[in-house]
């Protein structure tokens, strides 16, 4: 089980992920509604894993991913995006993302993916 930081600009998505991950036995150590807040929270909270939305105002998910990887090369970040933005996958993976979740998603698969990344 891991300590997880959720970064997403919509309250609905953050709440949904929080519910899924808590039900799966993970601890939600923090939430952020934008990339730059996410990077600061990563620095303060040192979570085991981050779920990172791609499209966000101010600092987007890819920039935030790069900033987190600059802070901690071993950071485990799973990107989360809407259908139709799969072209971001290559960029995200190149930037160090460990996994990719496409919205809408199903709880068991999300938990399986997070378990895999935490266990890796």
């Amino acid at each position: 089980m891991g300590r997880i930081l959720i970064v997403d600009d919509t309250l609905f998505m953050r709440t949904l992920l929080k519910n899924i991950l808590s039900a799966g036995g993970h601890e939600i150590v923090g939430e952020a509604e934008d990339g730059d807040i996410g990077v600061n929270k990563y620095r303060d909270l040192k979570p085991d894993l981050v779920t990172m939305d791609v499209v966000m105002p101010k600092m987007n998910g890819i920039e935030a991913l790069k900033a987190i990887k600059a802070l901690d090369a071993n950071a485990k970040v799973i990107m989360c995006t809407a259908v139709g933005q799969e072209q971001m996958v290559k960029l995200a993976i190149k930037s160090g993302a460990r996994g990719y979740i496409v919205k809408p998603f199903q709880a068991p698969k999300v938990l399986e993916e997070i378990g895999n990344v935490l266990g890796a």
Binding site: F12, T15, L16, N19, I20, A23, G84, E86, Q87, V89, K90, G99, Y100, I101, V102, K103, P104, F105, Q106, A107, P108, K109, V110, E112, E113
Partner: protein
């Protein structure tokens, strides 16, 4: 000519038998002893280790044969049938599954092969894979673009249900063929399209509930997440049921203790004498 061991169903019981796989057709041995040209096979369905073959006779009547065997045998048999039967077939590249339950399948890759559209399902066939997507499990279709070797290419995206999971697959072929495939599949699944009057009944909150159901949330979690009473959620469930967007899978009971139940609890909590 190859011969494979199978069981054939007749009159509700299974008979150990064999099928000869020839160039032009199949020979079903005992208890049928019938020759079936591939071009007479109009449909093929596979459920676990049982194939259902639908064959049209010279008098245009349809006959159904059920064949059971191990996966390896069915794989050989079905590949042969799919590539030769009476179906809309096209050479294409496909990626299936590309996304499963919203999680990108990391080792997914484009497979070179064929797509065959039969009466009740779409089959993807390649050197290594044989995948069937029943048409009734196709949830959505989209003609979209996907990047491949630096180029943006037209693809058909098919979302389908597989054991309760939403699986996304992609088909890649020349645009004109893709358009034909897309139109055919749209037409075959058009009863799933939402009418304007149906969409009018879906307000933002109902859509949020549907989204949470998709994600696997149970009733209690949805009530908590959306700060909603059981009665309010029930009304939304009724709308979703009426629109055939959901099925009832379980009815939960709310109960209260009877006087006998109250006595049992009271007694159980008394300190031992």
């Amino acid at each position: 000519m190859a011969e494979v061991p199978v069981k054939l169903e007749k009159g509700g019981s299974w008979v150990t038998s064999k099928i000869e796989i020839a160039k032009d057709g199949l020979m079903l041995k005992e208890p049928y002893n019938v020759q079936i040209p591939y071009k007479n096979i109009v449909d093929l369905q596979q459920r676990s280790q049982v194939d259902t073959l639908v064959v049209t006779g010279p008098d245009k009547t349809e006959k159904v044969y059920k064949v059971a065997s191990v996966d390896k045998v069915l794989q050989v048999l079905n590949k042969k049938i799919i590539m030769a039967c009476n179906a809309y077939r096209l050479m294409a590249h496909f990626m299936s599954p590309a996304i499963r339950g919203g999680v990108l399948v990391t080792n997914a890759r484009w497979e070179k092969g064929a797509i065959a559209v039969l009466k009740t399902g779409i089959w993807f066939v390649s050197q290594e894979k044989l995948i069937c997507v029943p048409l009734k499990e196709v949830a959505s279709l989209e003609l979209t673009k996907r990047e491949l070797q630096g180029k943006k290419l037209d693809v058909v995206k098919v979302d389908h249900l597989e054991a309760g999971e939403v699986v996304t697959s992609f088909v890649l072929c020349p645009l004109s063929t893709l358009q034909v495939l897309y139109n055919f599949l749209r037409d075959a699944t058009k009863e799933m399209d939402m009418k304007g009057s149906e969409l009018d009944q879906l307000d933002a909150q109902t859509a949020q509930v549907a989204m949470l159901i998709y994600s696997g949330m149970d009733t209690k979690s949805i009530e908590n997440m959306l700060n909603m009473s059981a009665k309010e959620l029930d009304t939304i469930y009724d709308t979703l049921l009426k629109l055939k967007l959901v099925d009832v899978v379980m009815i939960r009971k709310e109960v209260q203790l009877t006087p006998k139940g109250v006595r049992y609890i009271t007694d159980a909590l008394k300190p031992p004498a």
